[in-house]
Symmetry: C2
Subunit: 221 residues, 2 copies
Amino acid sequence: MQLFKLATGELPNEISDIRKTTMATNITWHDNLTHNERADLRKQKGVTVWLTGLSASGKSTIACVLEQYLLQKGVNAYRLDGDNVRFGLNKDLGFSEADRNENIRRISEVAKLFTDSCCITLTSFISPYKQDRDSARELHEKDNLPFVEVYVDVPIEVAEQRDPKGLYKKAREGIIKEFTGISAPYEAPEAPEIHLKNYEGKSAEDSANEIIEYLVSKNYI
Amino acid sequence: MQLFKLATGELPNEISDIRKTTMATNITWHDNLTHNERADLRKQKGVTVWLTGLSASGKSTIACVLEQYLLQKGVNAYRLDGDNVRFGLNKDLGFSEADRNENIRRISEVAKLFTDSCCITLTSFISPYKQDRDSARELHEKDNLPFVEVYVDVPIEVAEQRDPKGLYKKAREGIIKEFTGISAPYEAPEAPEIHLKNYEGKSAEDSANEIIEYLVSKNYI
């Protein structure tokens, strides 16, 4: 057993005692921590908050607000979305049915790892198919990891009116094929934990607040 | 802007004020937090600690000790290994050369996500090929995320002597084909950040201590 060498410099407060201590010898090391053991150590539970909804429904904006709010409150949170998944982990995948399924499967698995690590894991993907979302839920619940489905609901007319990236226009023109809500189905959740009606003057902060209220009411945070 | 409804029950201290506050209105929400912005909020940096070495070199045990030590010190840490990756995210992959490459590629991408989330990310995979490890490093460094290669070095004779799962025996008998160190190459790192000689009476705690000393010396923790 070695003593830590003391180094100079400033450490974050919560871990400032690392340099002053040796590793405890009376700890039983487990091969694998259970999520509950980890949650006790981290003083935080993990939960996957799965946002689903049409393109331009506001999923990413809500997730973004929620993530930054939680981080500012000292809660570990992370957002998985197209920006950091489609161009990295899933860059080998296209838009065939098989590839779309594999896209959601991998996202589900990665979300589960983050949640196991005691993170409030926010996923914002259209995820239009009930079966994919149910598979994501099943993957979590079989290992007793919580999964919260959030339906970010806007009428298609509202989404098409917003159209911040011009995607609906391209879909109407036939430039984009199989576009959810126009030329491909969106299977709305039947019994989501949270049903946000994210329109008629409601802000992303309002919707984020509804999610936080839910997470607090369930003692996830 | 809605007020949070007050709910009953106990919250972890660090987030106990969530119920007492409204969401601040003076915050600029960024579409994507940079890692440095996130690290400032989390008061913790992320780093991928990539352990490489022969089967039975002690990678997983060291990672396990290190993870639990960090968690007990209040540091967010998570371990990616065969148990939570091979049977989940990468369950569609076999052991062909292409699949082995894809296995390490996905692990690299997921490690990068965890590190971006400000986690001390521990990966324990044999990862015998220099090119794979270099790709993992490159993936991190192109986005200014730190990557620390840890060579868990034991002589093949020591690893074969330990053989806790009987894998070397099966490899010698030809039951397992292309086994690293026996019938497939292990390309030792030439310039790892940390070179652990994990034998001759050195314990997993000793090796974990060496890694912690390094992380402290570089201000990662």
